[in-house]
């Protein structure tokens, strides 16, 4: 029986390695035609004229990811504290399944709401088409809110009750206890939540595709049409031939996504290890 289990485990490992190798080999072939300098630093993406500057996508990806976390974090953290320490039981019993449900909503549904509600709204209020990084960040912020919230809540809730008791017994108010003792103590967990949220925001494709405008340019404002790595891939993967430079460049973008995700995982591991040591 044991061997069945080992085999399963090995299989799981094999999957990730074949993905990395596969996407890696395919992606790195880009460099036979495009210099790394151009790919990573040029802002001109005109593949039909053999110009493959992917910098705008990388830039927009990072901008979008950070922006969604910035939008999401304050509310998610406040919600987590609320649920873990303040909400009465009945309210917790509404919030918990509600956030779980929101994790389960398909991303295209978020995208549709973005497209039919957020984009027109921004178009009306700010002018322009309404497409861009801003609506994408708003939608992503809502998408990752439940992720950050529930992991942070777990982190706060799983703190030993004696920390809270110790603080209250010294005459601290509830808020002082939360702010000065609980949040610092739960920091590794909260950080993990944020990183997972970032990972989700960065990897999201269809919802972003529907609202970001899809122009291969450096976004001048938050409401000018832009492209991130994932949407750049979806936009062109379907129509470029396997083995062409253009196609390889898309694999290289996938490789970049993969590497950033793996780095995020690494950060989580380091955070976890550091908090273990303490």
């Amino acid at each position: 029986m044991r061997y069945v289990f080992v085999t399963s485990a090995v299989l799981v490992s094999a999957v990730i390695f074949s993905i990395i190798i596969f996407v890696g080999i395919q992606g790195l072939q880009t460099f036979t035609d495009v210099s790394p300098l151009e790919f990573f630093f040029s802002t001109d993406w005109t593949p039909s004229s053999d110009r493959f500057g992917a910098f705008p996508f990388l830039y927009s990806t990072i901008l979008l990811t950070l922006l969604s976390v910035v939008f999401s974090l304050p509310l998610a953290l406040a919600g987590a504290i609320f649920m873990a320490k303040i909400a009465p039981k009945w309210m917790r019993e509404i919030l918990r399944p509600a956030t779980d449900l929101f994790v389960g909503i398909p991303s295209v549904v978020y995208g549709l709401v973005g497209l039919t509600v957020v984009v027109p709204f921004i178009g009306k209020v700010v002018g322009g088409t309404g497409y861009g990084i801003l609506p994408a960040a708003i939608i992503l912020a809502i998408m990752i809110l439940p992720t950050i919230l529930s992991i942070s809540e777990d982190a706060i809730r799983s703190l030993p009750g004696r920390l809270e008791e110790a603080s209250l017994a010294l005459g601290a108010t509830r808020w002082q206890t939360i702010w000065k003792v609980l949040i610092p103590a739960a920091r590794p967990g909260i950080l993990t939540a944020v990183i997972l949220g970032m990972g989700r925001a960065m990897g999201e494709t269809m919802a972003v595709f529907m609202v970001i405008g899809n122009s291969p340019q450096m976004p001048k404002t938050l409401i000018s049409s832009a492209t991130v790595l994932t949407t750049a891939i979806v936009k062109d993967m379907g129509n470029t031939t396997y083995g062409s430079t253009w196609n390889n460049a898309l694999y290289l973008m996938a490789l970049m996504l993969l590497i950033i995700s793996l780095l995020l995982i690494l950060v989580i591991r380091i955070v976890a290890r550091r908090s273990e040591l303490k």
Partner: protein, 286 residues
Amino acid sequence: ACGKTDNNTSNAGGTQTQTPAATAPATNAPKEAPKSEEITGTVTASGSTALLPLVKAAGEQFMAKHPKATINVSGGGSGTGVKNVAEGTSDIGNSDVAAAAEYADKGLKEHIVAIAAFALVVNNDVNVESLTKQQAADIYSGKIKNWKEVGGKDLPITLIHRPDSSGSRKLVQQLVMEKTEFSKEGVTQESSGAMKTAVAQTSGAIGYIDTPYIDNTLKALKFEGVAFGKETIKNGTYKLYGQERMYTKGEPKGATKAFIDFIMADDFQNNQVEKLGFLPANLLKK
């Protein structure tokens, strides 16, 4: 280069025929006495969204005639169609333009099935009626940014694009832009349908779609002072049209062949194509 080995060629139509016959629940198809030339099998066609209305309609009619055949039609853009057929993931690739040079050695067979006119379209709030080729090129290259520069009211221009995979975009490149490049400003829409919706909804927007899509939610511009129509195309005064192609990998076989034959047949060409807003394939030859 693992994808496009020879098993794909055999996939085109022929070998497919047994699978559905073996597993598709026969109860759903009307029970008929098996005819000798009964057509079975699945044909997948993808690509040009400009041609999509025609292929979808043809598919429905074909399936009505052949209850055991399945025609699966989806869009994606002309580039997607050519790629899918070359890599064997579709039986037919639809395209508004000739397949790119890189597909030259892939054994693709071209079938011209219709002529499609397209037009520059604008939002209804744009009070410009006609553009010259130069004006259109300047707008799409980002040189002209406001409608007042071409005789309209003071209204910023919003460019709506199609992605690089689009045949319509290639046609605009060839027929309007020539050597100039598209501006990167503006919004890119996946398909002709989405382009239509976006132009109709965005103030000051300009786009390009095939004429079957045009209705009163947006406005088609004259090109060089000429409005589109069967006659203006035939007599060569309206320049914006493309030859719609269906590609197969090698000679079509089985259901795929039957489907293309169905579209090319006089019956469909003469009675359906124009009804669907396209022009017959042999229009220019006549």
